[in-house]
């Protein structure tokens, strides 16, 4: 078996005597001297993680309110007089962009990445703490610039989150004067900030692991975040150049994406550009982006299921290769978003094939999660409930992806509500359920206190069932042919009156599900003071973040000595062990290696 270690003891259970010293001395940490350098301009990854998390949740609330407003319009057209077509398109655009980029990407990578990478790897901090701090502040600037879009003349852009030119920069699209410029500038800032953080995560995973923690012993959470970060570093530049080129088209009169066109009866001063080039650049970023959100969720949910089912994750190596394989394949499937875009239709054969091939590693991950439950010792904790909810919504959303990925099936369904239902189920609801599960799971480590279980269960049931009721029936509107991005349907021959009833039902459910999130926010705030004391390892978990000498972990994480790792992250219910879990830094009781022999080849 190939040994991917960087030296140090790696054979589990056999470490007798003191561990040898680190070959290289530890770099000195930056030590904050004031409240400001400790909590505001902090270089501690844990504080930066919380800053990222809170900022992402705050902007996420804006997106939530926007979704309420657009649902109100769809169910009760004209009821809220301030929602005209301009505003509606501005709301859907901002909702989409916020959710995909500023919330999901930032929360998984900037939030969970920052908190968990150093702790799960036994590191004291990220490799480049100063850059890490800059990353957050540039992200905050990007968010503020995005919000500024609401206050500039003409409001934010209403071009749809895909920002397709020529429409995005033409005069009769809302937000054409300022909004689109602000949006593109904010995206560029986001990408710059993310690159600083992203390089940090990659280097820390490759160089910052503690002794004994080989790559193939890392928790799947880290594998997911690591792979997603590598992908983001490769995918975001495509969006960046797309944004630069569109800014030039808008501000300097270039024609990268602008062919000769006629606007309000006049020949516009453009010519020779290609609108579809932007679509390629956008989706070359946009499809990996789906997995940039999904892979950290895959990783985290694997760890939640394993911990709360008290059982090792089934098929660890397959899970790792599936993550890496999905990450690689996701760069050759982007044009499945463009089957009906007017690109050369011959491309359809290639992209349909690659897209459906990706279903295989993805399905294997689902099987392995379910097989982890098989013969487990399943505790229905709140994180576990959210993980189970994720599996259901992800299977559902993943399977409808097989419709849309299969080129000819996509033809009638593309640009209908079926697409809206599909991507909300698979990359909206599913990853957000993981985020909730992860917060319920790690909140005790972050704060030292447990979140309230009763509130958590109410939150879970309302969110999971509500979201399913919103998005499952929506697919059928798409089958009927109801298009997406319609401010109002009006009288349309093929749409029966019952579709309006369904829209009312979806809207009311959405309002309730949205309101339920306030319960979650209340729980977060209330438990900070009043939650039950958690202790260091309330879930009896194996991974390193639960083995810190202090909870919440102090600056530098590990006290005098960094931990040494002796085993993989999944030694739950090892036969012969006195407890049903063996922490990664536990040299192990003298088991006569019973667990190790079973785990042979897994490490």
């Amino acid at each position: 078996m190939v040994d991917v270690t960087h030296g140090g003891p790696i054979s589990g259970g056999t470490a007798s005597g003191a561990a040898p010293a680190f070959e290289v001395g530890e770099p000195d940490l930056y030590h904050p001297r004031s409240w400001v350098t400790k909590y505001v301009f902090s270089q501690d990854a844990k504080v930066i993680a919380i800053q990222y998390g809170l900022t992402a949740m705050a902007i996420g609330l804006v997106a939530l309110v926007l979704s309420w407003l657009m649902r109100m319009q769809l169910a009760f057209p004209g009821l809220l007089p301030f929602i005209d077509a301009d505003h509606y398109y501005q709301f859907i655009t901002m909702h989409g962009m916020i959710m995909v980029v500023y919330l999901l990407t930032a929360l998984f990578l900037g939030g969970f990445g920052n908190y968990l990478i150093p702790l799960m790897l036994g590191a004291r901090d990220m490799m480049f703490p100063y850059l890490n701090m800059l990353s957050y502040w540039i992200y905050l600037a990007a968010v503020l610039l995005l919000v500024a879009g609401f206050f500039v003349p003409g409001g934010p852009t209403g071009a749809g989150w895909t920002l397709y030119p020529p429409q995005a920069i033409l005069a009769n699209t809302p937000g054409q004067s300022w909004g689109i410029v602000v949006m593109l500038a904010s995206l560029m800032l986001f990408i710059i900030g993310f690159t600083m953080g992203g390089l940090n995560y990659v280097v820390t995973v490759l160089q910052g692991r503690t002794r004994g923690l080989t790559l193939m012993r890392m928790p799947l959470t880290i594998w997911g975040i690591f792979t997603a970060t590598v992908m983001a570093l490769l995918a975001f530049p495509a969006l960046f150049v797309g944004a630069v080129m569109m800014l030039f088209d808008r501000l300097l009169g270039t024609s990268f994406f602008m062919p000769a066109i006629v606007v309000t009866g006049e020949q516009a001063p453009y010519g020779g550009g290609s609108p579809i080039l932007f679509q390629h650049l956008f989706w070359f970023f946009g499809h990996p982006e789906v997995y940039i959100v999904a892979l950290p969720a895959f990783g985290i949910v694997s760890d939640l299921i394993s911990t709360h089912a008290r059982k090792n994750i089934f098929g660890y190596r397959m899970m790792v290769w599936a993550i890496v394989g999905i990450g690689a394949l996701s760069f050759v499937v982007w044009a499945h978003h463009m089957y009906v875009s007017g690109m050369n239709p011959g491309f359809g054969f290639f992209f349909a094939t690659t897209t459906l091939i990706i279903a295989i590693p993805t399905a294997l991950k689902v099987y392995n999660w379910v097989l982890t439950l098989w013969r487990g010792d399943i505790h229905f904790t709140v994180p576990m409930l959210f993980a189970l909810g994720f599996i259901v919504t992800f299977i559902n959303g993943g399977l409808t992806g097989l419709f849309l990925g299969n080129v000819v099936v996509d033809v009638p369904l593309s640009d209908t509500m079926f697409v809206v239902a599909h991507f909300h189920m698979v990359m909206g609801v599913a990853p957000i359920l993981v985020i909730f599960g992860a917060i319920y799971h790690w909140y005790p480590k972050i704060t030292g206190r447990m979140l309230d279980t009763t509130l958590g269960k109410i939150h879970f049931w309302m969110t999971f069932l509500g979201a399913y009721l919103i998005f499952f029936p929506m697919h059928y509107l798409g089958l009927l042919g109801v298009p997406r991005r319609y401010f109002e349907m009006g009288e349309t021959a093929f749409v029966p009156a019952s579709a309006a009833t369904l829209n009312v039902f979806i809207t009311i459910t959405a309002l309730v599900v949205g309101a339920t999130q306030m319960l979650f926010l209340f729980n977060l705030a209330w438990s900070l003071r009043h939650g039950r004391e958690a202790g260091g390892n309330p879930w009896r978990a194996t991974t390193l973040e639960w083995q810190t000498p202090e909870t919440p972990p102090a600056h530098g994480n590990w006290g005098a000595e960094r931990p040494v790792v002796y085993r993989w992250a999944y030694d739950y219910s090892v036969p012969g062990a006195p407890q049903d879990f063996l922490p990664q830094n536990d040299p192990g009781p003298d088991l006569a290696s019973s667990g190790e022999t079973v785990a042979e080849g897994v490490r």
Partner: protein, 271 residues
Amino acid sequence: MPIAIVLGLVVVGSVLFHFLSPWWFTPIASNWGYIDDTINITFWITGAVFAAVVLFMAYCLLRFRHKPGRRAAYEPENRRLESWLAIGTAVGVAAMLAPGLVVWAHFIRVPAGATSVEVVGQQWQWAYRLPGKDGRLGAADTREVNDTNPLGIDPNDPNGRDDVIVQGGELHLPVGKPVALLLRSLDVVHDFFVPEFRAKMDMIPGSVTYYWLTPTRTGSFEVLCAELCGVGHPYMRGTVVVEAEADYQAWLAQQQTFEQMQAPAQTGALN
């Protein structure tokens, strides 16, 4: 424990909803019943997988829920099981992909006898151009667009003189005859979508895209724009009337040609 029951109910509810839902495909009016068939195959395969995996999961939750003294099994991996699952999934995927690609090959190859009809999108209306007596459409370019030449037909191309132009009206098509829709946009990206035809394709300014179909039943069908094209997007509607050949010819004879359209302007210039 309750979650096991709820997950079972989610499966039962989803399947019932699928069969009882009043929302389903519109009655098809083109030859693309193949697409419906492919969707139905996909529904059967994915539905079976969804039900099987979620029900199995519900069973696990019920059977292996925590009880005092219970301890999980220790089984890191099972190569054989994982391989079989991978193979089974690959077979299922191939069963959906193969018919899909065959139908796609059919979809993108316009049959030799198809008549060409041009659809032109412009914020936020549809215009159509049909070949005149010569059976050919003249060349066109957005740069040629002006008040008297709204579709930008090349005035120097003799093939374009007798082209029939329909602006802001209905498009009529003869039933049972294959037609290739050549799609052109003068400003932003639009998409010519008739749900009953199942087919759609974006129209991109600066290029000509296409799809083809054979209308299979007469009737009047609503056209929608299916690609966000600005605030007027939901109002960009139109009507396609599929009728018998004789009715179609009668309609066609009443439409004005490019030449007729130009005539009043030329007279004006002479005065």
